[in-house]
Amino acid sequence: MVDQYPAIVLLAPFFAAIAVSLLGNWKSGFCLPLTVLSLVISLMSSIALLGQVAESGEVVYLLGGWPRPYGIEFRVDPLNGLLLVVICTIALLSSIYSIRAAAVETPDKCPQFYTLYLLLVTGLLGMSMTGDAFNLYVLVEVASLTSYALIAMRSKRAVLASFNYIIMGTIGASFYLLGVGYLYMKTGSLNMVDIREVLLESGLYTSETILVAFMMIMVGVWIKMAFFPLHGWLPNAYSYAPSTASCVLAPLVTKVTVYVMIRMMFTVFGPEYVFVYLGWSDVVVWMAIVAILAGSILALAQTDLKKMLSYLIVAEVGYMVGGVWLANETALVGAIYHVISDAFMTLCLFLAAGAIITKTGKYCIKDMEGLFRKMPWTMVGFVIAALSMIGIPPTCGFFSKWYLINGGIEAGNWGYVAALLISSLINAILFFRVIEVAYFKKESTDSDKEETVSGSSGVGEPPLTMLGPLLVTAVCLLLIGIFNQEIVILIRQAVSSFGPLGFIG
């Protein structure tokens, strides 16, 4: 049992997906309990797995019993062990949240929705566990296909957004696949660790093919994670998607892709290639700086709440890419920590936005007046997430910013530090704009008065199934912040296994 944890983590949602699709047609009441049950199992075993990893180091699970270069294996180190827990937690929380929202937003499609949802989670879990470069592509496609469908479930603009996502997502995944092909051509292996060994042994660092492979993989992954100039698909896709779908897509997909980037950079190519041999980190960090600023500024221009949040994701991706490419341990730790904390922050914000939208039907920020009075607890969750985005202690956003800025200073990259600070300020403006509107009553003229009265009469707190996950996430934000030491120790354990990072500054 103990050595089967990696399989259980993945298989629980997977089997539940099949069961939901089989039983859901017969009786749709089965969908939700199965989903929640499987995610609980998955969460528990991922926590157990994390414990195992933290204690005894890397866990390798051979699928089909074939040893390393021949078969596919799961490799769980503290880094993706943590990510697994994060994925399971977030999936569980938003599945509870979806009880009501799914019934409102996608009626009669319950079994399909939950099947796709569970398959998405399976795909993401698989992406973070697998130790095989090609298998990663397949799982990326599983996750992408489900997200295309989840986004397109709503009508009108969501469909167009989904189409653009399909085009961009395919370009990204194909670039990744091509990069893997180039790697395979030169190394003859698909296993990540094996590729690294071959690269080191054969002295392939000077090869143009490897260079292009690296660039292709990076560009592909950047498209998938919506790194700034390649972000075009994300804002529309996430803001027009059904809120249940965006609650799981927005926190997880980009973050897992960032993890994939880290995996590729450090496990496959190795820091000595990426930082020492290529030495591009300055260029990429400056791109990240542009991404942070552009994302924040574009977010500032939005009037739609979910769209604003989506652009913030673009900025946050810049944080993480910049942190990873700063080429020192502090910044890398910060970036990984930010992956985790940002996942929860985004979840919290999207849950709150979803709750507001389902209860009031309002999308625009300026329509949200008086929300503190109508749904105080929702707004409490929103405020905590907002504080975390701004970076106020003791929320986790502060600590990730702390490590990132620390790393930026260590690398001597003041532009990155400045970008982080400016983006924090812009976040403050953004969120306090929302909070201000929600806190103050509209200056009511006579004609408005009746409207407000009639509007406010029906609006109250969302049901407990929506509020509960929101508040749990908010508490998680605080807990992750307060107990950041424990997480950081795990991350450091993982980072140290990447070998010495090339120091630039």
Partner: protein, 251 residues
Amino acid sequence: MRALGTIAVILTGALLLYASGDFPAWGEPYSPANDSRVSRHYILKSFEETSVPNMVTAVLADYRSYDTLFETVVIFTAGIAIISILRGPVDKRVRLRRASEKSLRQSNLILAQTCRLLVPVIQMFALYVIAHGHHSPGGGFQGGVIFGASLILVALSFQLQTALDRISEKRAMILAGIGVLIYSGIGLTCVLLGSNFLDYSVLSKVLPLSAIEARSYGILGVETGVAFTVTAIMFAIYANLSSHGRMKGGL
């Protein structure tokens, strides 16, 4: 958009051309990829280890069976995705029970007769492809597509409803689910028998087979699962795409 496309194309193309100078020559038997221990192991050892002469099948369904599981899942996902995208609010009022005789008569006689002749043959052949995947090209996926194509043929030469009478969309989806379940069920059986996921050799504990034969039969079982899913999904995709997801009328 054109300018953007041109720039992207030129940049990527230049990059790829730049790298192509570094490639080993096409068809070079001792290039790193072809001469790697992974590839050599598959060619030299796969028959020994799985008793399947078709190396592609052996690698596909045993060494990298986890990939293939998710390949099946991709297809399954695509089916569900298409249904969930195209299906509007369910319209329960008009639902033809069976294709009326009239519609059968309306369809072209020559086509109908040819189809009557062809469809069973195609289906038999599909089964052959599935089962013979160990020894010749083919296997679950190809057989499944052929089987699905035979159903599409029915729909094309009669009415969509005629094909739906044979296998309704709901049943198709259940079949698809069962297919994935067969695949993953075999994997899970291996776990329950005390080995890793998808390690078929452990099936020899319950079947009267040696470990190597068990691998071979495991592959067969897995291919069957793939075939189920692919058949059902191919047909479901066609049925949805050709009728706007309304399951009536259509191409």
